[in-house]
């Protein structure tokens, strides 16, 4: 009944392929199976929450069966945790590309805010999973190794920007970097995480391109006004 994987892989008629090992087309590819499960699970958990997601629903959208899900991830919770791990890993990869230390403090701050904005705006799954984690008291994310490291990195970036801005007489000197991070996160996160109630309340979809652009500018503006040295 479920032979999706076969259908996806055209019959090779016994002819040996020229890619010797690690061939993506070989019949049993544990890595690909795992990745497939993880991808589907990410969607399902982020759409339905940990309790709301159904193991059957995940398995059904997979190229494999429910049994494999347990084979690789042990339990529903194990799978959920693997999803969290993957999602946090993805961010790290992206953040490497931001080289704010090479920019002027104001421009660097703008770049950081814009990056944060864009990331949240695009990675709705990430935003939802964070939300879901908070409903569960963050008890699963605590076990994710990459989690703490990722946040330390951001704080270092902010500390560097603040220090250079203060030195250049551009920024106020009384700002706590973690507080500033919280402020930036709040502005970028809320409009994505709560866009449904926002949309219902005001008849405006915050993800509409025009609104998105305006919010982006507003948030950059608000942050710069906040850090900028008076007079």
């Amino acid at each position: 009944m479920k032979k999706g994987s076969k259908a996806a892989e055209p019959d090779t008629n016994g002819i040996p392929s020229d890619t010797p090992r690690g061939d993506a087309r070989r019949k049993y590819d544990p890595e690909q199976t795992k990745r497939n499960i993880l991808d589907v699970a990410t969607q399902e958990f982020s759409a339905m929450g940990l309790t709301g997601a159904r193991v059957d629903a995940i398995a059904e959208r997979t190229n494999t069966t429910k049994r494999m899900l347990y084979y690789y991830f042990g339990s529903k919770e194990g799978l959920y945790q693997a999803v969290l791990e993957k999602v946090y890993g993805d961010i790290r990869a992206l953040e490497q590309d931001l080289h704010v230390s090479e920019l002027d403090p104001v421009e660097g701050m703008r770049a950081l805010v814009e990056f944060t904005f864009d990331y949240h705006d695009r990675q709705r799954d990430f935003v939802r999973l964070v939300t879901i984690e908070n409903i569960h008291g963050a008890k699963y994310v605590e076990q994710v190794k990459t989690f703490k490291g990722r946040n330390v990195t951001v704080i270092h970036t902010i500390e560097d920007l603040l220090a250079r801005g203060i030195a250049a007489g551009q920024f106020r000197s009384d700002i706590d970097p973690i507080d500033l991070h919280l402020l930036i996160s709040s502005l970028c996160f809320h409009r994505v995480g709560n866009r449904h109630t926002f949309g219902t309340a005001f008849g405006r979809d915050p993800s509409h391109p025009r609104l998105r652009a305006r919010h982006r500018a507003m948030i950059v503006d608000a942050v710069l006004r906040f850090v900028r040295k008076d007079g």
Copy 2:
């Protein structure tokens, strides 16, 4: 097993009620029964989410039985919706007490932000329920009648403040009131809704009194800097 009766009967502070004694304990009191169920359900849904909450668990902490829950609210979803309705109604009631129109624009804005901050800081159940609603795409809150009205009220308040501030030469004239509301909400909501992941990431509990006070000042500061006219 059933010690919810205390919670169900609000402390009267020794003030004698005008209803004859023992009246509050009469067996047939539909309003009290409903309120009791609603109170317990609010805690359970906000703690566990819609799918995570258990009807049995709610009933157990109630003065009555599971059957009455269905008698009055029809279904688990019906009860959840009644909880949303109640919670949104509660805010509205409180907001009436804020008379910002009588204050100087800057002071009024400060008062509004402080109220918003305090409300979110104290009403964690509300924050969690909004979060939960967003996981469900706001489909239940859409059916809550009091929902849209409540939000219009806030926008009117902000419009009034902005208009008066612009007239007095204190505020910028290019700010959209709904955008500003979003900005304020973001700052007040995020630190409560995502306090668990924040705490895990930075080892700081945003609900600690010292941090709370600092955040409150920071947010007021950020909003005022944002709305203030330059120069």
Copy 3:
């Protein structure tokens, strides 16, 4: 919430009515209440079956409350039985009007068949309740006093017709009256009782006027051909 009875009875403003006793407009009229419950119950049981009918649904469509239903009829089964009793009583009343003994045997037979046809065609509730009773092994109808008597009457009518028809050389002499009754009933009952599956199977609704007329003629024809003496 349910003041249908009030609405139905215009306020008399304290003016004494000229009907002294048994006034249908007095506030508490047990007979009317019982009749009302019975009427609603007849519809509900015939529409849903004994197990399918819901006491709540019956009560809701009544001018009174569920409690009264138990007050007067004791239980769901008691009410069902009362419905059976009423329905069988109704037939008896109608059958009195048939005076086939005054007619020529052939015409009398025709009249009997037409009466039977028309009765089943119009009294769908009756047909359905008989059907329902058979699903329950006729165990409730057994306790209905009017039941057996009614059937004896029909058999007597048929016996009379057959005897006179045989004497007149019009009818065959080898027909058992109960068998003939069964034959007539079959033809009149089936097209009503099973009209839904029939309609679905052949895209024809047997209750359509044109089809009704044709069936009526066909059934009379079939019965007369069956009883008529050959050549």
Copy 4:
């Protein structure tokens, strides 16, 4: 509590099956599991009706658990529908064995009526299920694919008989085949479906062998008299 295994394994009459021994008892046999559930459900639904039947009661008499019932049939209604489908399929299969087109029209008609009589007389479950379906307005049978096809077949058989009988000068030419089918069905169905009320009313059990034989002859006689050309 579970002695359904006998009923579930049809008597093989000592004929060795071509599958190795003990094979029928292997633990994983989805087809047998489904058949077993379906068989038990047929009895339960026909005995108790759709609403009267209990999923637990069905499961208990099964070789498996309630869970499997949902695994294979989705819901109580789904199971009921599967039962309808099976039961209608069974008739079709049997009807194929009747080769009335090879018989003289009168003999063919007699064979058809006798087959119809015998089928209804023996397959009480079928009769009851049709009755039950009509209580539900035939809404479940409408979704059964095999339903309409089955009925078309019978009509074709009747059309063929009528045409040949007319050509041979044996039958009247003014008979509608669907009407005739209704007439035959009425006579064969009613005495089975309503045998309980009939028995109660007249103290005669229509399923008694002697009565059965007489009814059979009577019905054949009535139908032949109806179709036969006069004079």
